[in-house]
Structure formats: structure tokens, C-alpha cells
């Protein structure tokens, strides 16, 4: 019996496997984004398009706390207008953040939201938010930025506190 020759087909299989896995590394980027949106993994908040009706239990209360951070030398003062709100799941609320640009330059920034605990992220939905777009801060301008949100009643009954934090990053241009 002779030793087997390496066929063309076998070659193609051997070489295409690493190429496919390289492509898979890139495919993980959209997969990860979709996965986070569906599961609320990593504290990713959801969006909602209209003020829909939920079954509301007025007696149920959840405390929502607001946090603000800035990253990497972002020169704008940024913080929540009120530190926390007591809300009823299923009702829509408006909260706001204040930002003041203390410099002589126009600053462009982007806020990235995160919700903790992560099991609450899936049920934290935003109708509008300053984090949906990049924000432009003119020199010495103070702005009030709003978000309108709802915590869906499907939220786990054991969760009594939710933290929403925004992290502002400076955009290069």
C-alpha cells in the first residue's frame, strides 16, 4: 500500500479553515452587538419608538440613580440634574443632565450609557436620549440634555434599584 497523496480538496480544506476563523473574528463584532441588544448583556440599554401602554402597578416602586463620568480629558463639566428618582415601572419619565463647557473651544462629545445591574438593562428602554447623537458644546455654553425613559414592568421583582451611568468621551473631530 502506498502513502496517500495530499489531494487538492484536502489542501483547500486545510487552508480555508484558518481563513474562515479569521473572518469569524470579524463576524464576532456584529454578533456581539446584536447579542448585547437582545440580552442586555454588558449593560446595553434598549430603544423604544413610541410611548406605548403598559400594565401599571402604582404600588411598585423602583429607585433609579443617575451617574456621570468623563473620560480621557473631556473638558466639559457634566452631571445629573437630580441624583435619583423614584419611579413606577411602565410609566414614562424625563430626566436631565447638565453640561457646561468651561473652555474657549467648541467640544464635540459622545455619551455612552450603561445600566446596572445587567439584568435590568434589558427592561430599561429609552424613547429619546442625548446619547443617541453626538453633542456639540460651544465655548462657555451650558446646556441641559434630556432623556425620556421607561422601565418595563417585566423587570425582575427582586430589583429595587437601578443605576444609569453616562460616560462622556471626546470625539477627535
Amino acid at each position: 500500500m502506498e502513502q496517500k497523496k495530499i489531494t487538492k480538496k484536502f489542501w483547500i480544506k486545510l487552508v480555508s479553515a484558518p481563513i474562515l476563523m479569521f473572518a469569524f473574528a470579524y463576524a464576532m463584532v456584529p454578533i456581539y452587538t446584536v447579542f448585547c441588544e437582545i440580552t442586555g448583556f454588558n449593560g446595553t440599554t434598549g430603544r423604544i419608538d413610541s410611548e406605548q401602554q403598559y400594565a401599571i402597578n402604582e404600588n411598585r416602586k423602583v429607585e433609579v440613580s443617575f451617574f456621570a463620568m468623563t473620560m480621557g480629558g473631556f473638558p466639559v463639566q457634566f452631571g445629573p440634574k437630580v441624583n435619583s428618582m423614584t419611579i413606577v415601572p411602565g410609566k414614562f419619565y424625563t430626566a436631565s443632565y447638565i453640561a457646561k463647557n468651561n473652555t474657549d473651544e467648541t467640544i464635540v462629545g459622545q455619551a455612552i450609557p450603561s445600566v446596572a445591574p445587567t439584568d435590568a438593562a434589558l427592561y430599561f428602554k429609552k424613547l429619546e436620549c442625548f446619547c443617541f447623537n453626538k453633542q456639540v458644546f460651544k465655548p462657555h455654553e451650558e446646556v441641559e440634555m434630556t432623556l425620556r425613559f421607561v422601565v418595563e414592568p417585566e423587570l425582575d421583582k427582586r430589583i429595587k434599584d437601578i443605576s444609569l451611568s453616562y460616560n462622556f468621551f471626546k470625539l477627535k473631530k
Binding site: M1, E2, Q3, K4, K5, I6, F10, L14, V15, A17, P18, I19, L20, M21, F22, A23, F24, A25, Y26, M28, V29, Y32, C36, T39, G40, F41, N42, G43, M71, G72, Q110, I112, A116, T118, D119, N167, F169, K170, L171
Partner: protein
């Protein structure tokens, strides 16, 4: 190593060009082993620097930035420069002989996949001399430390990782092609020795995982230089995603570094217990299940990134599951020794201590895999102790065991058994003095990757450093033993170990430059099979 065998029609070329142009699996195996050993000494020197700084609290010898460069480069050099090339070297030397093939299936590619390595290693090491210094973000190079906040030399690091990845993937393709196509026609898959089996499975891990690493560093490269934002939150990216991609590579990677070790030990223990390997087929299936599970547990490295409870539970249970096939293997090794006629030559000493110490590393791994407990252990010296028990007394132990076990076949000569035993006891005691106290440091809360620490950690760090220096010095003796064997060793017989089985032992005492030009017969294969 430069002597030729005149009895064969063509031996190796003479001089330096032999090593540059060679396509012979034995030459390339030797090159890989020497390269890995050199890298081991360089990475070890970095470790000595780390332990010297940690000998006492306070900053003694170096700037924190340089300390971070040392920990980073120690990890990268040991993983990609020492352990992985050493196993590829063992695979090159042994697989063709074990499957009765004349050489590797793709000998020219084999030459190329080796000769990429010195350049990749050189590029990596040269970053020390660049402005801003070498990468200092740890061997896991998490974004944004490695993207936004890293020195310019990071681009050289990325290129080096690309080259190392290419080399490993080509090596893996070569081994798959050799095992599946060049195997002696009479040898069935379940006749194959376990080292061949574990390497075949490792190859599939390599071609699955290394391209993902290449993808991760390519994203880093474009993030750093070409304005993409894979890991940059301002551009819609996510630094946590880096960790997912990295550990999707990183977890199979740790099994890439340990599965061939399982193979080596499965050869040595039956030989010196003078009994057939217990549960050959269960060993094969256990290896395959470990390989499969290694792809679906990566996020247990990330329990503290903020995962939903369901995610933590899944990754915790999946991780626990790996203990089952690993337990099967340990059980089989112990059962092989049970009522065997055991003798304790150097390879056996290394193999038995492998089983014992690797299991300790496995147990601390189980502790780390428990999500609620990991909150305490995460990023402490407990983790450092854990992965050094599995990588040093696991992977490296098996490489040293394999070196002593097959050295007679590679050189035709016998090493100095007495010195080898001295070296073993020196190494096995010092390595435990080095790493065992790190468990306690970690449980007490000492974080990893720091050049300074609070006073309460001083005693254990002192003990650990003393063990470290002793362990480092043991490699001087190892170098001497190997060179002494090559130069002055007494001639070995073709089968120097009484109970050894395997086709490689049917060759001449020093395996001839070209072996198995005619494939072995069915009878010979059956006589030498581990599965009997």
C-alpha cells in the same frame, strides 16, 4: 548534532546552510527545541528580574513601567516563544517516527514555519530598545490599554504576533496533513500513539484559535492607525468585546499548551510502570472532549466584566464540565501505575510530578471557575499561582520529561542519570517554594502585575523569590546535562527504556536521518501499539 550517517545514501548538508535550508523533520525539530530553549532562558531572565523586584516591598531595582514591560514580555515570550515552539519541535521530531512516515507532509513549509520564528521573536524583543519601551499592558493586551494608551512599539508587537500566528497555523496544517496522509497505510487511527492523537487534536485547536488572535490584533492595528473603532466606545465600539475575542482565542490556547503534554505523559508512565496504558480509547475521547469544551468556556476569564447571572452560571457550569474528561485522564495515569513494576528514572520522575502538580493547578482552576468565588480571586496572585502550576509544572514539566525520555533516540547517547535526578529534585522543590506561597498571597488579596506591595505580603514574597532564584539556577544544570549528553554521553541502545513501546524505538539508537522510507508492517504496528 552535526555528525552524519554514512550508511545512508544522502545525509545532511555540511555547515550552517544545513540548518537554514533543511527540510528534514529531525533537523527542524532540533531547531525548534533549541529556539524554544533559548526563549525559555530569556523569558526566565525576565522572571528573575520580576522576582528580584518583588523580593522586598518598595521599589528597589526598576521603574514600575519597566516592571510592567517585564511581566508582559515574560508572558508573551514564554507562551509564544518557549512552550508552543517546544511542542511543535517535539511534534516534528516524533510524529513522523511514531506514525511510520519518512518525513512531514509539507517539508518546505515546515522550514518556513520555523524560520519565521526567530524573526518574530527578534521583533518582539527589539521593542525593549524602542522609544516608550516594550509593550507594558500584560500578555493579554486588553484594549484600551493596548490601543489608546500603548507605546508606539505596540505595532511591532502586533506584527510579531501575526508572524507567530502564521508559523503556528502552518505548523498545525503540516501536522494534520502528516497524520492524516503520511501515516503508515497499515496504521489505523486507533493504533496511533497518544502523543500523535493529542497533537492532531491540538492542531485543530490551533487552526481554529490562532486566526481569531490574528483578527484581534488586526482590529487593534486598524484601531491604532487607521481610524476604526472596534474597541473604542466613542466610535460605537466596545473594549469588553476585545476581551471576548481575545479569550475566544485565549482559552483554546491554554489547551494548545497542555494537550501535547497529556500525550507525552501517556507515553512515559506506561513505559516505566511496565504496563500498557490504562484506557487508551477513553484517553482519546477525553482529549477530544476537552478540546471541544475549550471553545465554549472563554468568558470564565471575564466574570468581573459585568455579565448577567445567567451568563455567569452557564460559563461556570461549562467550566466545571472540563474537570470530567481531565479527571478521566488523571484516573487513567494513576491506574496505569497501579500495581505496575515501577522504576523511577528521570523521565518518570518528571511525569509523576507532572500528574501531581498539574492536578493541583487543575484544582485551583476549579476554584477560579466558581463565579462567586472568582470575585475574591480575580487578578490576584492566586491566578498567577494557578496558571504557573499548569504551565510550568504542567506544560514545561512534560517538555523536560519528553526531552529526557527521547534524548537517547535523538542523540544515540545516554544522559547522566545521577545528575538528572539531582536536577529533578532541585527543580521540583524550588518550583514549589516559588509558586505555592503565591496561592496564599492571592487569597490574602495581593494583586498581580504590580512592582510594589503592602508589608503583610513581604514574607511570602521573600520565600517565593528565593524559590524563584533557585528554580532559575536549576536551568544551568539542565543545560549542562543536555550538552554533556550530546558530547560525552555513553552510547544508548535502540530501546533504552525496558518497557517502551512505539515505532520510534524500532529505529537505530540515534534515529537515522531518513527513517521509515518503507512504511512499517501491520505486525510491527500492532506489536508497538499503545492500544493493545
Amino acid at each position: 548534532m552535526t555528525t552524519t550517517h554514512d550508511e545512508h545514501h544522502h545525509g545532511p548538508e555540511k555547515g550552517l546552510m544545513r540548518w537554514i535550508k533543511t527540510t528534514n523533520h529531525k533537523d527542524i525539530g532540533s531547531l525548534y527545541m533549541w529556539f524554544a530553549f533559548t526563549m525559555l532562558l530569556i523569558g526566565g531572565a525576565f522572571a528573575m528580574g520580576i522576582r528580584a523586584e518583588l523580593l522586598q516591598p518598595g521599589l528597589q531595582l526598576m521603574e514600575p513601567q519597566f516592571f510592567n514591560q517585564l511581566t508582559t514580555m515574560h508572558g508573551l515570550i514564554m507562551v509564544f516563544g518557549a512552550i508552543m515552539p517546544a511542542f511543535v519541535g517535539l511534534g516534528n521530531w516524533l510524529i513522523p517516527m511514531m506514525v511510520g512516515a519518512p518525513d512531514m507532509a509539507l517539508p518546505r513549509m515546515n522550514n518556513w514555519s520555523f524560520w519565521i520564528l526567530p524573526f518574530a521573536g527578534g521583533i518582539l524583543l527589539s521593542t525593549f530598545f524602542m522609544e516608550g519601551g516594550a509593550p507594558a499592558f500584560g500578555w493579554t493586551f486588553y484594549a484600551p490599554l493596548s490601543t489608546t494608551f500603548a507605546p508606539d512599539s505596540t505595532d511591532f508587537f502586533i506584527f510579531a504576533v501575526h508572524l507567530l500566528g502564521f508559523s503556528s497555523i502552518m505548523g498545525a496544517i503540516n501536522i494534520i496533513a502528516t497524520v492524516l496522509n503520511m501515516r503508515a497505510p497499515e496504521m489505523k487511527l486507533m493504533d496511533m500513539p497518544l502523543f500523535v492523537w493529542t497533537w492532531l487534536i491540538t492542531s485543530f485547536l490551533l487552526i481554529g484559535a490562532m486566526p481569531v488572535l490574528a483578527g484581534a490584533v488586526t482590529m487593534m492595528l486598524t484601531d491604532r492607525n487607521f481610524g476604526t473603532a472596534f474597541f473604542d466606545a466613542t466610535g460605537g465600539g466596545d473594549p469588553v468585546m476585545f476581551q471576548h475575542i481575545f479569550w475566544f482565542f485565549g482559552h483554546p490556547e491554554v489547551y494548545i499548551m497542555i494537550l501535547p503534554a497529556f500525550g507525552v505523559v501517556s507515553h512515559i508512565i506506561p513505559t516505566f510502570a511496565r504496563k500498557p496504558l490504562f484506557g487508551y480509547s477513553s484517553m482519546v475521547y477525553a482529549t477530544a472532549s476537552i478540546a471541544f469544551l475549550s471553545y465554549i468556556v472563554w468568558a470564565h476569564h471575564m466574570f468581573l466584566t459585568g455579565m448577567p447571572v445567567a451568563g455567569e452560571l452557564y460559563f461556570m457550569y461549562a467550566t466545571m464540565l472540563i474537570a470530567v474528561p481531565t479527571g478521566v485522564k488523571v484516573f487513567n495515569w494513576v491506574s496505569t501505575m497501579w500495581r505496575g513494576s515501577m522504576t523511577f528514572e528521570a523521565p518518570m520522575l518528571w511525569a509523576i510530578s507532572f500528574v501531581f502538580l498539574f492536578t493541583i493547578g487543575g484544582f485551583s482552576g476549579l476554584m477560579l471557575g466558581i463565579a462567586p468565588a472568582d470575585i475574591q480571586y480575580h487578578d490576584t496572585y492566586f491566578v498567577v499561582a494557578h496558571f504557573h502550576y499548569v504551565l510550568v509544572t504542567g506544560a514545561l514539566w512534560s517538555i523536560i520529561a519528553a526531552t529526557f525520555y527521547w534524548l537517547p533516540k535523538w542523540t544515540g547517547k545516554m544522559y547522566n542519570e545521577k545528575l538528572a535526578k539531582v536536577h529533578f529534585w532541585w527543580a521540583v522543590i524550588s518550583v514549589n517554594v516559588l509558586f505555592f506561597p503565591q496561592h496564599f498571597l492571592g487569597l490574602a488579596g495581593m494583586p498581580r502585575r504590580i512592582p510594589d506591595y503592602s508589608l503583610q505580603f513581604a514574607d511570602f514574597n521573600f520565600i517565593s523569590s528565593i524559590g524563584g532564584f533557585a528554580f532559575g539556577a536549576s536551568f544551568i544544570l539542565l543545560t549542562y546535562i543536555v550538552i554533556d549528553c550530546i558530547r560525552n554521553g555513553k552510547p544508548a541502545s535502540a530501546r533504552p527504556w525496558e518497557g517502551a513501546k512505539g515505532l520510534e524505538w524500532t529505529l537505530e539508537p540515534k534515529a537515522q536521518y531518513h527513517s521509515f522510507n518503507t512504511p512499517p508492517s501491520r505486525k510491527l504496528i500492532e506489536a508497538e501499539s499503545q492500544n493493545s
